[in-house]
Symmetry: C2
Subunit: 341 residues, 2 copies
DNA sequence: CGCCGTGTTGAAAGCGCTCTCATGTCACGA
DNA sequence: TCGTGACATGAGAGCGCTTTCAACACGGCG
């Protein structure tokens, strides 16, 4: 491969000349070689190798109107992205899946509403073939914005109370997973089963509450407490719970991190887990589960799989017969039984 | 702004026609309007607004050979990205700084050496104006790869034992910060000062060790223990330390997370901090520091600033007079005095 | 009054590629 | 032998933009 800088890259023209074919034929070979006879294919391939030819993406996009790139929009205030592996893991799933399709990932990090204009402009600018937005909160205007930009897009996580045309989404079966967790506690013979929920502006938290209510009809409101998905808020919720309902013998906690806090408080109060109080978490986050004592029984969700799935859904959307929007996808959960329940 | 899909976007031609000027003049206005008289500037601006014109990036790149995009290469095995806010924070700094310059961020996540080919191809493909790679380990071939791709690039963090042409980098003053930490312990009158270091394949860990040695000439090797930057490894190192050198009265721990583990062990052993053993961490990671008891004295590094700085350095590199490579940049640290030392 | 420099505008080339369409080739059947 | 259809190939248009260069207008100066 000859020495070359960004400036003097060989063009398809050069490849064609070297291979003794037309630019059109060279182009066909570079794009798969369909409809070109083998000897010519070989010649062109050889020329490509010898010259170190790499197609010019801008030129290609100009004519194909495709970009081989997808925007990933993270709308999340700083603290959550940092405290929660959830995002990194989902992003990794997306990254892997895009990579395997040879599609680039353009990261758009939205800090607040003041960024909306920029995002809208970028999407409308037609720089990407599609978009994946994840982590949306109840009142987020982002889905509307994205819809208006006309860029094919999917959401990671069920959107909130958006009206208007909705985008397809992927999500974990939060409600079903919660049901399974609570049913498990019931099957252990627990009578006073509490729920430490996540923040009410996130659909995942709401869905888990719904699952709790699916199984336990009309529970004492004191048994339902809200945390912020952090260890500390889980501890606080557990403490309050014990103060008001000392008879509690089972707790379904909306995520593992809060469950960790709950376990700590139970330990501090001298209560045995699972004998006195059985605890079930949600997520099956490796680092957290490993740190827990006793080992945490929890509802596993495949976060990386969620990321991958969002890409698959987007791809389906991009290849759809015009006007047909694919259905949203819900990923199943698995109850992982360990020592805590 | 008229209804439009990705397909029927107005072109510069349309804007020019509507404004009653040539395409060339319209282009000048769109790109700042230098050398065009005010009345025409206004007319073109109006036409742009009325038509909702957005320049076609591919067409522009094709002629300017610039892309308005930078690749950010994360080379890190899964577990660290997740356990350590360091990366998200640095990424956010980069994202913010690029956004403010209207440059897009293309994320390339490198899992292992098998991805190197793909990365090299992408960089050589000339899709981006520059690259920022961060989190490199001692034997990483990535810098070489990047250098060979001829794409202007900077590194986040001092690279390891690479030979050959090195890329400019940004890094925290790990050595200076470590010196400051150890000097502080000395100033407190501590006599047996230990160091719990990070893994030996990372330059940041090595530099902090060097800083420790700068202050303490020829310390007992037993006072130096290695961890993996995790809470647990910090605890283990502290336990070993106490077993072998029960006289230890000061510890400089290479990061806050390990310091947290060290504090836990000290507490478990009934030792008072700082009275019996003074502890200094490194990073000043908010979430960790908040969880520590007593409040952790630590060396603050501005991680987000590091990310921003890497962008600034790259910009300098891109605008350099040919052949002139800007110098690497080291960011200063600050000792934050709290209760633990 | 003519010339020249300065500043503004437009015509047109061309960035590197894809893709349509016309042309050519070849095997086969009539 | 010739026509025919299937397939392979090349010529060339054109994607939307920037940028050079020529043309032109205008004012000041000799």
């Amino acid at each position: 491969m000859p020495e070359q800088t960004a400036a003097n890259r060989p063009t398809l023209e050069a490849v064609a000349a070297r291979a003794g074919v037309s630019r059109a034929t060279a182009s066909r070979v570079v794009n798969g070689g369909a409809g070109v006879r083998q000897p010519l294919v070989d010649k062109v391939r050889a020329a490509v190798d010898e010259l170190g030819y790499v197609p010019n993406h801008a030129a290609r996009s100009l004519v194909t109107r495709r970009h081989g790139a997808v925007a990933v929009i993270i709308a999340e205030p700083e603290f959550r992205v940092f405290s929660d592996p959830f995002f990194a893991q989902q992003l990794r799933g997306i990254s892997r899946e895009l990579t395997s399709r040879d599609v680039q990932l353009v990261l758009l990090w939205v800090e607040d509403e003041s960024d909306h204009g920029r995002i809208a402009r970028y999407l409308a600018g037609g720089h990407v073939d599609g978009a994946i937005a994840f982590s949306l909160h109840g009142d987020d205007r982002l889905p509307t914005l994205i819809t208006e930009s006309k860029v094919p897009a999917v959401l990671g996580g069920r959107p909130g109370t958006e009206t208007g045309p909705t985008l397809p989404y992927v999500d974990t079966d939060n409600r079903g997973g919660a049901r399974e967790a609570v049913r498990h506690l019931v099957s252990l013979g627990r009578r006073s089963i509490a729920h430490i929920a996540g923040p009410g502006d996130q659909t995942s938290a709401l869905d888990r509450i719904a699952g709790y209510h699916d199984v336990l009809i009309d529970p004492d409101p004191e048994l339902l407490r809200e945390g912020h998905f952090t260890e500390e808020s889980g501890a606080r919720a557990m403490a309050e719970l014990l103060d008001r309902r000392p008879d509690v013998d089972g707790v379904f906690v909306a995520n593992d991190l809060m469950a960790l806090g709950a376990l700590r408080v139970l330990r501090e109060r001298g209560l045995r887990v699972p004998q006195d109080v059985a605890v079930v978490g949600f997520d099956d986050m490796e680092a957290v589960v490993r740190a827990s004592d006793p080992a945490l029984t929890t509802v596993r969700q495949d976060v990386e799989g969620l990321g991958r799935l969002s890409v698959k859904l987007l791809v389906k959307l991009l290849n759809r017969p015009a006007g047909h929007v694919p259905a949203s996808v819900i990923m199943p959960t698995t109850l992982i039984r360990r020592a805590s329940a």
